[in-house]
């Protein structure tokens, strides 16, 4: 057993840089792919929640209730449990239960309901007067969605997606601990389990940098599109 003094953090000669690179790309890949799927799925679910809210038609009410239940249930399952719970589903969908690809279903299923809620809130914040104006000009429901709701709530949609992306980066690390690859797995197996603190430290630093970059891109886009 190696000594565990503080100086062990800085024994960078122990770091296998090509492995670190590969893990970094795996993390970025998992994040980007899951964010892309979550963006689409969350938007659809959020729209469904928004459109079915406050109706008095029984069928619509039931639909709203089902979607809201689904969203609330999956939002409240801790990720590390969800990923284990979904192992059989992942096996069927991806054909494997380890590797970056296998992490995607659980990442998406945990983050999409969260983003759907943010989307719903963003839509509700669009000025009702503008929607009524579009309605009065003879816009169809669908035209109102893609010409009014989405463009008018875009800053909120993007900042919500940024928050979602950042929590997804955290989830990828957790997924890594049970074999999804990426920086989480590297920090866990090569760092923690091999008593190699320098690797853990570098993996942490890289994750922080990735988070900062996502945050920066998100903030920058919001500033660009917000003309209010």
């Amino acid at each position: 057993m190696d000594s565990q003094g503080l100086s062990s953090y800085f024994r960078f000669s122990d770091v296998n840089w090509p492995n670190m690179w590969e893990a970094t790309w795996e993390t970025i890949w998992m994040t980007v792919v899951s964010v892309a799927i979550v963006a689409v799925l969350g938007l659809l679910l959020g729209l469904l929640l928004y459109e079915t809210a406050g109706s008095n038609k029984p069928a619509v009410k039931v639909l709203n209730w089902i979607v809201a239940l689904f969203v609330n249930v999956f939002r409240s399952i801790p990720f590390i449990i969800l990923i284990v719970l979904l192992l059989p589903v992942t096996q069927v969908l991806v054909g494997a239960i380890t590797g970056a690809k296998a992490a995607i279903p659980s990442l998406v299923i945990s983050a999409a309901p969260f983003y759907a809620r943010l989307v719903e809130i963003a839509f509700h914040e669009v000025d009702g007067g503008v929607i009524e104006a579009a309605d009065a000009m003879g816009a169809t429901k669908w035209q109102i969605v893609y010409k009014v709701l989405i463009p008018e709530s875009l800053p909120a949609l993007v900042s919500g997606l940024t928050v979602t992306a950042i929590s997804l980066i955290g989830y990828t690390a957790m997924a890594g601990a049970i074999g999804a690859g990426g920086l989480g797995q590297l920090a866990y197996t090569d760092g923690f389990q091999s008593y190699n603190n320098a690797i853990t430290l570098v993996a942490t630093a890289v994750i922080v940098i990735i988070v900062f970059i996502f945050q920066y891109i998100g903030d920058f886009s919001v500033r660009k599109i917000d003309k209010r």
């Binding site: 009524e132 104006a133 000009m137 003879g138 035209q143 010409k147 009014v148 463009p151 003309k227 209010r228």
Partner: protein, 346 residues
């Protein structure tokens, strides 16, 4: 052009029924500017929202150009809505779009090709005096400019009817007048029928040909603006009219009147109302010629131009003399068809 036949609208709310509009009969002729005035909650918005099916009447018929509006649904209703432009109190522009893109919005809805859309929108921006600001975003515009965008957008589909729901209520007096002038110009240039809702009689006076006064969901009085201004029948109408015609002088005149009344307790303070040609008649001159022994002091006067080319004047005078003479003078004024109202000591 627009016909409302015995239209009522009742809202069912958690706290019971709200009768927002009750048995309204109304016709608006093509090309005219029709004003609807009333206090908050009178049912004005509910009434005009029925003109484009944003609200359906509980009973009665809404007919525009011989088409029943209240029974339209789906595509037919959307097509009908495209023929009616609306401008709103809070403009309701899309902040994510530039001036030009906002004006293009209704044209996008009908699938007009981009180049054609742009040409038309630019033309409309010129018409409302915003040719220079087509690339600005609404957040960069003043209230008056935002409303101009609203007007241009409402005109994009070449509507037959323009509805203005409190379109100037969020603007200062000067900007209000500019927007009213623009509406007047559009009415003449494009031969558009305009229905204008307001709680300000000023807007009616400046713009409307005919007016309907609403109270508690009912139309309590309607007629040509010059008539309603000169001969208001209902209490509420009188209040509206006097708020517009008399407001400026109240306190000053009251004080002077008090003094004059104290000095000549037998004298009578009289408000004279002129309309139409009487405004141009030398009424006071004739009065003093016919009643040389009567002392006439003029306190205050004003003339208002009405949108339908009528004029409305009011003059406060004090008549000092014997009771009989004053009475005779009042009868004389009556013969000249000048409305004379004796103001009892205030």
């Amino acid at each position: 052009m627009i016909e409302l036949k015995n239209v009522s609208k009742t809202f069912e709310t958690a706290n019971g029924k709200v009768e927002a509009v009750k048995n309204v009969e109304l016709t608006v002729d093509a090309g005219e500017i029709f004003g609807i005035v009333g206090f908050s909650g009178a049912g004005k918005s509910t009434l005009v929202r029925m003109l484009n099916g944003l609200e359906t009447p509980t009973s009665g018929e809404v007919i525009i150009n011989d088409v029943r509006i209240d029974t339209l649904k789906g595509k037919d209703l959307r097509e009908q809505r495209k023929k009616i432009g609306i401008i709103f109190q809070h403009f309701n522009l899309l902040w994510s779009r530039t001036v030009l893109e906002n004006i293009e919005f209704p044209l996008e809805l009908i699938g007009m090709p981009k180049a054609e859309r742009e040409t038309k929108a630019k033309h409309l921006a010129e018409l409302v005096g915003l040719g220079e600001r087509i690339n600005a975003y609404p957040s960069q515009l003043s209230g008056g400019q935002k409303q101009r965008v609203g007007i241009a957008r409402a005109l994009a589909n070449d509507p037959d009817i323009l509805i203005s729901d409190e379109a100037t209520s969020a603007l200062d007096p000067q900007t209000t007048d500019e927007v009213l002038d623009l509406l007047d110009e559009i009415n003449q240039k494009l031969d558009l029928t305009i229905v204008i809702i307001t709680h300000e009689m000023h807007v009616i006076r400046r713009l409307a040909d005919r007016v309907a006064v609403m109270e508690n969901g009912r139309v309590i009085e309607q007629g040509p603006v010059s008539e309603v201004f000169t001969h208001p029948q209902e209490e509420l109408t009188k209040r509206f009219v006097s708020s517009e015609v008399e407001l400026p002088q109240t306190t000053d005149v009251k004080q002077i009147a008090q003094k004059l009344l104290q000095k000549n307790p037998t004298g009578k303070l009289v408000e004279l109302r002129f309309s139409g040609q009487q405004v141009e008649r030398p009424v006071i001159n004739e009065l003093s010629k016919n009643f040389p022994e009567l002392e006439i002091s003029i306190l205050e006067g004003s003339i208002h131009q009405l949108a339908d080319k009528g004029t409305l004047g009011s003059l406060f005078v004090q008549l000092n003399g014997t009771e009989q003479k004053v009475q005779a003078a009042l009868e004389f004024l009556n013969e000249l068809q000048v409305e004379a109202k004796v103001i009892e000591h205030g």
